[in-house]
């Protein structure tokens, strides 16, 4: 993604004021249009609220508005003169943690909210664990409702100390704590005089200027989505492989291997409808031609030679976030979805799970809804992986229930 765009996920437990914070951010960044504000004011009046409840800007579903809670991820789009934002607002209830996982999976920055009166709670640690596991590169601890603790620096410091301890045991190198009061807007867009002891940036200023860490890159990885064979008068013999570059930079002339078959070839051309490219970086959707007529289908991975090479394997050591009510146990069978490949999978063993209270792994024989644990998985056919720590695309997979089609787990290759 270019320097102009930032993907942000917000997480917090119930009543931490997350939707209010997002509403305040949108409102104060002038991303709320007049008719939307009028609708919020009218809806707030109908509910008998004192002022306009900014949470109603983001809680769009009937059930959310009736219960005053966030159930599902809401995506919001706004821009300041400095940057364009995609903001995923995720729910606080433990039962909806899977939606936090969803929001975090594509985020550059996670804003984790705590209520200054209650401090770091189990949900805070769960959200921190999810953000760190999914490699969200920047984590913000937003201590909200500072107005209800008399803007006390001591309260803020104690919460930061608690959060730092949990972060350390999860291996999170750094995070940015910011004291805020979303209801009044303190430290959201502009610094608040009531928080004059705080020397850092207001939340929006931080989001506008933060540069997410660039991770070490891999040689190019190109999963084939669709094989294009037009067989038209104009292109009688054309054979191209349509897909998106998922790591590194693919160049015309690169020596490549097609996995899992292992056949080698050379990139003859990188095509787009508006002309050929000499190179395509990660993120570009293109069509690749090879010099040799090799047998390639959807699900194959074209890789450029170099270190580190991906691993072709039928056995996975993985961390999974379990997203459904039925527990995960050894010998369970699922469909595993990885890049553009679907294979059948059997869980060989559940090894451990994360104890959220102590943020340490404990032995486990099953994973329940919202558990994060380590498992061993056996596959009917090989897949080609990199560790998730090296690449979010080739290191990530889903487990899918074969009967219902439901997505039951988010998996990370270790």
């Amino acid at each position: 993604m270019p320097a102009g765009l930032l993907r942000v996920v917000t997480a917090g437990s119930v009543d931490d004021g997350k939707s209010t914070l997002v509403g305040r951010l949108l409102h104060d960044a002038k991303a709320v249009l007049a008719d939307q504000m009028t609708a919020v004011q009218a809806a707030s009046e109908r509910r008998g609220y004192a002022g306009a409840d900014l949470a109603l800007l983001v809680d769009g579903l009937r059930a959310e508005r009736e219960q005053g809670i966030t159930i599902d991820v809401a995506y919001r789009y706004f821009a300041t003169p400095r940057r364009t934002f995609i903001l995923a607002d995720t729910p606080g209830h433990v039962q909806y943690t899977r939606n936090t996982v969803t929001g975090a999976s594509t985020a550059d920055v996670a804003v984790i909210l705590v209520d200054a009166r209650s401090g770091v709670v189990e949900q805070t640690k769960r959200h921190l664990a999810v953000a760190s596991l999914l490699r969200v590169s920047e984590i913000v601890l937003a201590v909200n409702k500072m107005d209800l603790v008399e803007f006390s620096e001591a309260v803020f410091d104690a919460i930061v100390t608690d959060f730092a301890a949990a972060a350390a045991s999860l291996g999170v190198a750094h995070f940015t704590p910011i004291p805020v009061a979303a209801l009044s807007g303190a430290n959201i867009v502009t610094k608040s005089p009531q928080l004059d002891w705080y020397g850092g940036q207001a939340l929006l200023e931080f989001l506008e200027t933060v540069e997410p860490a660039v991770r070490a890159d891999l040689p190019a990885r190109f999963p084939v989505q669709v094989v294009l064979r037009p067989r038209t008068a104009e292109h009688p013999d054309y054979r191209g492989y349509a897909g998106r570059v998922e790591a590194g930079v693919l160049h015309r002339g690169d020596k490549v291997q097609v996995l899992p078959s292992g056949r080698v070839s050379v990139v003859a051309g990188i095509d787009t409808p508006t002309g050929e490219l000499s190179e395509a970086p990660a993120g570009r959707s293109v069509t690749v031609r090879l010099e040799d007529d090799v047998d390639i289908a959807r699900g194959d991975l074209i890789v450029v030679d170099g270190d580190p090479a991906p691993v072709v394997t039928r056995e996975l050591q993985a961390t999974v976030c379990w997203l459904t009510d039925r527990p995960l146990r050894a010998a369970d069978r699922y469909q595993l979805r990885h890049t553009t490949r679907d294979v059948r999978a059997i869980v060989d063993a559940v090894e451990s799970k994360l104890d959220i209270a102590t943020v340490t792994p404990i032995p486990a024989s099953e994973l329940n809804l919202n558990d994060i644990g380590t498992v061993r998985i056996r596959l009917a056919e090989p897949i080609i992986v990199d560790p998730y720590a090296l690449n979010r695309s080739t290191g990530a997979f889903l487990l899918v229930d074969e009967t219902s089609g439901a997505t039951v787990a988010a998996g990370l290759v270790r």
């Binding site: 270019p2 102009g4 991303a31 249009l33 008719d35 800007l57 809680d59 104009e234 990530a396």
Partner: protein
């Protein structure tokens, strides 16, 4: 809805559009990779025009591997139908028309006199999906349009009855889209989920895409109705007490003529439209869609029933 244009440089804006394009093409290709019988909804509105453009780019130099489908309320803007038919011929693609009028004639749905036909599109849409055995339906809906749509997945499963269950959506992780579904179910796919109205216009400008001329400012006979500027057409004659006047207007959305309002505008080019859109203080649906005003959750209620 973006209220400010990213202004650093042209290259930045273009970079952002390229990312959106790459994401949409990736999604459209996943549909062809994962489904047997996809179809693309095409109304001749700007979002569906961008969808068709992206789909053709996704499979170039192959032909479009699926048909287009228009759910036609019969209450159309003539300019849009002319555009639709001309483009379909030019592109050499197949167009399926699911007609609301046919469904009314067949007694499948009942029209309420004086009411818009917009919500009536659901039954013909679902009938066409069933009879053509479509398993994936590509649509141009954007999350920035409306608060219920902000909660929508890119791959969104619909049950046998075409219903959306917003409380029980599949988690959608990374960009691993899960299109697995049971027989009788289908999946709605929204490749433009992360685009804003401004992004659509910036992309139309960058790609030099032709849109129906009612998107540009033109003189039209209008009346004030329900707080909107409504054009006088054969389906929407003036009501008693309304004063017909001629004004320079354009359309921000193109839907059923009976519920789509115009906005006062002098924007004669895409660049003018981008400037107006960036400066607008009213959302696109707020300005021009009577159908969203029925209640706080009007869009969610229609979507649950199987609407776009």
């Amino acid at each position: 809805m973006t209220a400010v244009l990213p202004t650093q440089s042209d290259s930045l804006e273009r970079g952002w559009l390229t990312d959106l394009e790459d994401e949409a093409i990736h999604i459209i290709r996943e549909v062809v990779g994962q489904f047997e019988r996809p179809v693309l909804l095409f109304s001749g509105g700007k979002d569906s025009i961008v969808m068709a453009h992206l789909a053709m780019k996704a499979f170039w130099p192959s032909r479009l591997p699926f048909a287009l489908m228009h759910v036609d309320t019969g209450h159309n803007f003539a300019e849009v139908i002319e555009y639709r038919d001309r483009k379909v011929a030019e592109w050499g693609v197949k167009l399926i028309v699911a007609s609301v009028q046919d469904a009314i004639d067949a007694g499948r749905i009942t029209e309420t006199p004086g009411q818009t036909r917009n919500p009536l599109q659901t039954i013909p849409l679902l009938d066409a999906i069933t009879s053509n055995k479509f398993d994936a339906v590509l649509g141009g809906a954007r999350r920035d349009e409306e608060k219920a749509r902000a909660k929508e997945r890119v791959f969104s499963v619909r049950d046998d009855f075409g219903q959306w269950d917003p409380r029980n959506q599949r988690p959608e992780l990374w960009d691993l889209y899960n299109g697995r579904h049971r027989t009788g179910e289908h999946v709605r796919v929204f490749p433009l989920s992360n685009w804003t109205e401004l992004d659509i216009w910036a992309y139309i400008e960058r790609e030099g895409i032709e849109v129906p001329n009612i998107y540009y400012a033109h003189q039209r006979e209008v009346v004030d109705r329900d707080g909107m500027l409504l054009a006088i057409t054969e389906f929407t004659p003036p009501r008693e007490g309304e004063t017909v006047r001629t004004e320079s207007v354009r359309y921000r959305t193109v839907g059923d003529a009976t519920c789509t309002g115009a906005v006062a505008s002098i924007a004669g080019s895409v660049a003018d439209i981008i400037t107006e859109t960036a400066a607008s203080t009213i959302s696109e649906r707020g300005a021009t869609r009577a159908d969203d005003r029925a209640s706080e959750a009007a869009m969610e209620d229609r979507k649950r029933q199987g609407y776009f």
